[in-house]
Symmetry: C2
Subunit: 257 residues, 2 copies
């Protein structure tokens, strides 16, 4: 049989150590590290396709990549083999064989991003780089939650997109936003069918303006309707952001520990 | 009045970035960084006294230090002043004026150490350096808890002390050990009137041997009674260890946020 197998990987990484996911000459990227490890494992030169880019400083708990291989290494063993070649800041959590039609990006039906914010007057020294930091401890949770309904649904999210990446459309569907208090701060969880460049960080930045009581909850609706990036709140720091999960019609890793 | 005031600081740091707490020529230490920041703040050259050393790689959430000053800077403002000169991996959580008799080490009546262990087949990539890692997921919590009573109380803890530091006596009182499951691993909490060099890490190392079912719970009692370091389990990694709290008859920071 002269057809390659397709493998998918579930990958976590510490975004501080990489210039984002996507290969860039002269910079250390997640894609390049994975390709290098696969080459060391199999002797093959493969291009690994991710579910999407993450920017420099953005972490991932559940990035998904796929690639083709002629290697006969059992899919279940690919994880350990790759991990033996990967640096400490990048780990393959699971490996699985997938159908040849599976595509890490275009097969995805939704993505979940998490955002961690530490609040308080002291820098989060033991989680620095892993959480964003807001000095104010009195963020208004109820107000942030009241702003959420203005953002949910299918909209043109241009007002929350940074320039710099071309996409066919800036219409996306946000299916859920959860804001919950965590010890020493707040956690945000976003699920949508896709996200524009820096969209999650811009949404967090605007929700924080509401949390600081500088803006009323309905203000985020006005920003959204304006389509004007200059009306939104400042972009929240990359270090709080996690690509948490990529959702597929069938989870490639469903049967794995 | 020609007597200096005494100030105390509550300090947190990421142990990865320092060669321990105590000043060592040619190495970056917590003590040196704090003294440098105080010198920049006040123009004074002061010696800061810690509650005890922490080794390279060991973290602190609640290290306490004291020092004397002629500066008239209000104690409550010392925190922010120092933090403006400190690196991201070291933060003053609180500052307070204390009685001239207060001594960070000798006034302490107890210390609490925490130990964080991630378990599972994937490296804890998003908390690397902040937790220790054990591949086995099936550690026996009940067995580890059953071993605890053999360690509590007043004993000669020589079997759990590393060579390399001289202390008058190796008798210490361990008042509590808690082992609790946390998401993706286990947390250990130790309270005692003092701890020998590497004692917490050696206690964890031996409890883990019980958790792995390589030893029975009562084995830790036999190790303790032997006074023989070679009989104990391997020393657990520094990266999981946190100096959590130093307990004084009166908490110097009791009235502070």
């Amino acid at each position: 049989m002269n057809t390659p197998r397709r493998l998918a990987l579930l990958v976590a990484y510490d975004g501080r150590e990489f210039h984002g996911f996507q290969r860039q000459p002269g910079f250390l990227t997640v894609q390049e590290e994975l390709e290098r490890a696969w080459s060391a494992t199999s002797g093959e030169t493969a291009v690994l396709h991710g579910s999407g880019r993450t920017d420099a400083g953005v972490h991932a708990w559940g990035q998904v990549v796929h690639f083709n291989t002629w290697s006969s290494l059992p899919a279940a063993k690919v994880k350990a083999a790759l991990n033996s070649y990967l640096p400490d800041e990048l780990v393959v959590r699971a490996s699985a064989e997938v159908a040849p039609e599976f595509h890490a990006r275009s097969s995805a039906v939704a993505k979940r991003y998490g955002y961690l914010l530490a609040t308080g007057r002291s820098r989060p020294v033991l989680r620095r780089g892993l959480v964003a930091w807001e000095k104010r401890e009195d963020l208004d949770l109820a107000a942030m939650r009241a702003a959420v309904p203005f953002l949910l649904g299918t909209h043109d999210f241009s007002a929350f997109a940074a320039a710099g990446r071309t996409t066919k459309t800036s219409v996306r569907t946000l299916s859920s936003i959860h804001v919950h208090p965590i010890r020493g701060g707040f956690g945000f969880l976003f699920q949508g069918d896709g996200f524009l460049y820096k969209m999650v960080r811009n949404l967090v930045g605007s929700l924080l303006e509401v949390g600081r009581r500088r803006r009323a909850p309905q203000w985020v609706g006005a920003v959204l309707a304006s389509g004007d990036r200059r009306k939104a709140g400042p972009t929240a720091a990359a270090e709080g952001l996690y690509l948490w999960r990529v959702v597929y019609p069938q989870d490639p890793f469903r049967n794995l520990a």
